[in-house]
């Protein structure tokens, strides 16, 4: 790629937006830095150092260690002795797979500052990076005993439990998240998916309620609608379901399917149109899981 035809101020805005959203666009950050913003770094003022930090992380992520190290050196000169910069040095060691040394760096940060949460979380990342999922879970559980309101950590723990197949503990993590974020439809959806996967009539009914709530919070959530349809079908085909409940649940299932078909029709997509959806799922006879 030659040079990007971008206004450096636009690039600065974009990087700032990505920093604030905390989203991962490592390749693009590197490209934007290398082919544009690097040449204007002296115009960035104080923001320069946040951008350099962003570039270090992006560089480590895309294995552009040359770029990452350059920015790391600049940050080290500007902020000698900084723990925030020291964490980046630890991350560099992680990228080089020198995991034990990275752990030492993070331990040294924690010794100097007991309240430092990012170093503790990096330790979990090192363990995950080494494939030591059980150890990562242990470390993260210890972390959450101290920093129990860290939503990002609960999400990570849920992820780790799902990797281990421990659905009930993963569900517990989502419960914590829902308690602190009762309006986040994504948490409801994820919780319902876990409950559905666990199976059994009780879990299926819980899944149905949570998919329902997710769809209520965000009618555009297609996973919630599909999940609602599936869980309703499961519940109503259960032998333990009463006739009255069966009727209500089936009505809910039909409603959910119609909503999905509507969404597809609105999209005018070639993939699947609304009527196909009704046809595909309408005839779905689910094996009894409830």
């Amino acid at each position: 790629m030659a040079s990007l035809d971008l206004d450096w101020e636009e690039v600065r805005e974009q990087l700032r937006a990505w920093r604030e959203d905390n989203t991962r666009h490592s390749e693009e950050v590197i490209d934007m830095w290398e082919y544009c913003l690097k040449h204007y770094k002296h115009k960035l003022g104080d923001e320069r150092w946040m951008v350099e930090e962003q570039v270090v992380v992006a560089g480590l992520d895309s294995y552009r260690l040359d770029i990452a190290e350059h920015s790391l050196v600049a940050l080290n000169e500007q902020f000698p002795g900084s723990l925030r910069v020291r964490k980046l040095k630890g991350m560099r060691l992680e990228a080089l797979e020198r995991f034990d040394e990275a752990m030492d760096v993070y331990d040294s940060i924690i010794r100097q500052d007991e309240t430092n949460s990012t170093a503790r979380k990096r330790k979990v990342a090192v363990l995950r990076g080494q494939g030591r999922i059980a150890d990562a879970i242990k470390e993260l559980t210890e972390y959450l005993k101290i920093f129990m309101s860290d939503g990002e950590a609960w999400q990570e723990l849920c992820d780790l439990y799902l990797k281990e197949g421990d659905y009930s503990k993963a569900a517990f993590c989502m419960e914590e998240l829902i308690l602190t974020n009762p309006h986040n439809h994504l948490y409801y959806t994820r919780y319902a998916e876990i409950k559905y996967t666990q199976g059994g009539l009780d879990n299926m009914e819980i899944a149905r309620s949570y998919f329902c709530q997710a769809a209520k919070l965000n009618p555009g959530n297609v996973r919630a609608l599909y999940g609602l349809f599936l869980s309703c079908t499961q519940v109503s085909s259960s032998t333990k379901c009463s006739a009255q409940k069966k009727k209500e649940t089936q009505q809910l299932a039909t409603w959910a399917l119609k909503e999905i078909a509507d969404r597809y029709s609105k999209c005018r997509t070639n993939a699947m149109d609304g009527s196909k959806i009704l046809e595909t799922f309408g005839s779905l006879s689910i094996t009894e899981k409830a």
Partner: protein, 207 residues
């Protein structure tokens, strides 16, 4: 069950693009083959296409059920069936199928004796492919997954070059999987644009 496996360029390409698009996550998907219409002459399982499924959470059931149902329905008219499952693990050195891969592959095997379980060999995925970075397994009569010899797995001629080109040009960013579709219904998980691109490239390669 003791026969060879062949993969078309499309099949392998979409798998590689999927893995390359989400280097930090595990990814999964299914592979398709022609339905066995009583053709017992060929012992080779020919995998002709791939549908990339997930990159967010591979172990959750509901969306998997939705995906499998839609895929079966869509390809029924073309005489294609789901013939296997592929997965690329999160960790670069890890190419061992986990409980998720085994469970889903077994489910597919219930309907299809020749079902394949394909693990992507992450370490071999690069910009200049020397060999197909896949480990293909099938069920033995004892119900265990056994990986096929490298010699039994055939890839369409010229595939590695074509796929290397795609990776060099970062085509993976255009690949759509089922997770993308669920987030935005206009995204087509059958990736017709990739199919088109592949047709052009393979034709050019044959010139």
């Amino acid at each position: 069950m003791s026969g060879d496996i062949s993969l078309t360029c499309t099949t392998l390409a979409k798998m590689m693009l999927h893995a390359a698009r989400y280097p930090q996550s595990a990814v999964s998907g299914v592979v398709l083959a022609q339905a066995r219409g009583g053709d017992t002459t060929s012992n080779t399982v020919a995998l002709v296409d791939t549908v990339p499924l997930f990159h967010l959470q591979l172990s959750l059931a509901p969306m998997l059920e939705v995906a499998l149902t839609q895929i079966e329905q869509r390809y029924k008219s073309e005489g294609l069936v789901i013939a296997g499952y592929y997965q690329a693990n999160e960790h670069i050195k890890d190419n061992v199928p986990d409980f998720v891969a085994l469970k889903i592959a077994e489910k597919i095997a219930e309907n299809n004796n020749d079902a394949c379980l394909i693990m992507i060999d992450n370490k071999k995925l690069c910009l200049n492919l020397q060999s197909a970075p896949v480990i293909v397994s099938q069920l033995t009569s004892e119900g265990k997954w056994k990986s096929k010899e490298k010699a039994s797995v055939h890839v369409e001629a010229g595939s590695l070059d074509v796929i290397s080109q795609l990776l060099q040009h970062k085509v993976q960013h255009d690949l759509i999987d089922f997770d993308n579709h669920l987030d935005d219904l206009t995204c087509d998980w059958s990736n017709p644009h990739i199919d088109k691109l592949l047709t052009t490239l393979t034709a050019a390669a044959q010139d």
